[in-house]
């Protein structure tokens, strides 16, 4: 996954410590930049030897996140999401 790739955050609901906020799950955005590999917090939180996972910044529009309730649909929200939480969306 590279910059400007369209992605959807997985709508997973696993138990335990994860760092993909609920309000972004299932939402579509675009990779803003790549941040490199980081220790996976889902393993780190339990004292396990953590694998390295790619971390990406994803840009969402407020219109995508909040629909008609958005104050200004063109405003932006950016968040860091681990690659294993993202599905690429390919242009059809």
């Amino acid at each position: 996954m590279e910059r400007a790739q369209k992605v959807r955050v997985k709508n997973w609901h696993p138990p335990g410590h994860v760092r993909a906020p609920m309000y972004l799950r299932g939402k579509t955005g675009e990779i803003e930049r790549e941040l490199g590999p980081f220790a996976n917090p889902e393993e780190l939180a339990y004292g396990h030897k953590a694998s390295r996972r790619r971390l990406l910044r994803v840009r969402f529009t407020m219109g995508e996140l909040w629909g008609a309730e958005a104050e200004n649909p063109a405003d932006i929200l950016e968040a860091e999401i681990y690659e294993h939480w993202l599905d690429p969306i390919n242009a059809t």
Partner: protein
């Protein structure tokens, strides 16, 4: 036993002579994690791994961190376009250049312009660039700010006294993982003759979180 003052049972009612309500003493039992922290600290000292003085020195060093370091970074970016470019490219390396030790901090700086206003939050907890700005304000850690600023940032910013026109795009940065964020506020007009120290004095903690702009001189 001599007893030269009134019964303490009244202390939690009414007002003190200085006009503030009395608060109960904080002598409740330790929580599990407070007890664990003390046990761990005492063990480390007993085993000679660290000394009590070293722990105190580290706590003091953490307490000394303040928004002044962040303001210094902002002022340098205002006067030195090449530094600003490096700061926006790689915040962590750029702050080291001017003598701010990032430690574990991984920094992304985001720039306010006439077209874009940035604001920072951590919806999951209270991630904050402590090495650069010191301790976060209480409101930053509260649910009201964390849940509202991602949905109605313009309303929240207006409550802080910052009304943004529709021509300005709002960008909310949710620190969900390993990066921490510094907002680089716009340099106020009429500051051409000010030196870096005077410029840094215009940069508040709130401006670097993005709920305010830099002060006008």
């Amino acid at each position: 036993m001599p007893h030269d003052h009134h019964d303490h049972s009244d202390d939690t009612q009414g007002l003190s002579p200085s006009g503030h309500p009395y608060k109960p003493d904080q002598d409740h039992k330790l929580t599990r994690w407070q007890a664990m922290e003390i046990a761990m600290r005492e063990l480390l000292i007993e085993k000679g791994i660290v000394t009590a003085a070293e722990i105190t020195a580290t706590v003091e060093q953490m307490d000394r961190r303040s928004p002044a370091d962040g303001a210094k970074v902002v002022a340098r970016a205002w006067v030195d376009p090449a530094f600003k470019a490096r700061l926006l490219q790689n915040g962590t390396e750029a702050i080291r250049e001017i003598g701010v030790e990032p430690g574990v901090l991984k920094l992304i700086a985001v720039e306010n312009t006439p077209e874009v206003h940035n604001v920072v939050v951590c919806t999951l907890c209270s991630c904050y660039p402590r090495n650069l700005l010191g301790l976060p304000p209480d409101w930053y850690k509260q649910r009201a700010y964390r849940s509202r600023v991602v949905k109605t940032p313009r309303k929240v910013l207006a409550e802080f006294g910052l009304e943004l026109p529709d021509t300005v795009q709002v960008r909310v940065h949710d620190s969900t993982a390993d990066m921490r964020y510094l907002v680089l506020p716009a340099r106020p007009e009429g500051t051409d003759k000010l030196d870096e120290t005077a410029l840094a004095a215009l940069v508040s903690r709130d401006a670097m979180i993005g709920v305010a702009t830099a002060r006008h001189p």
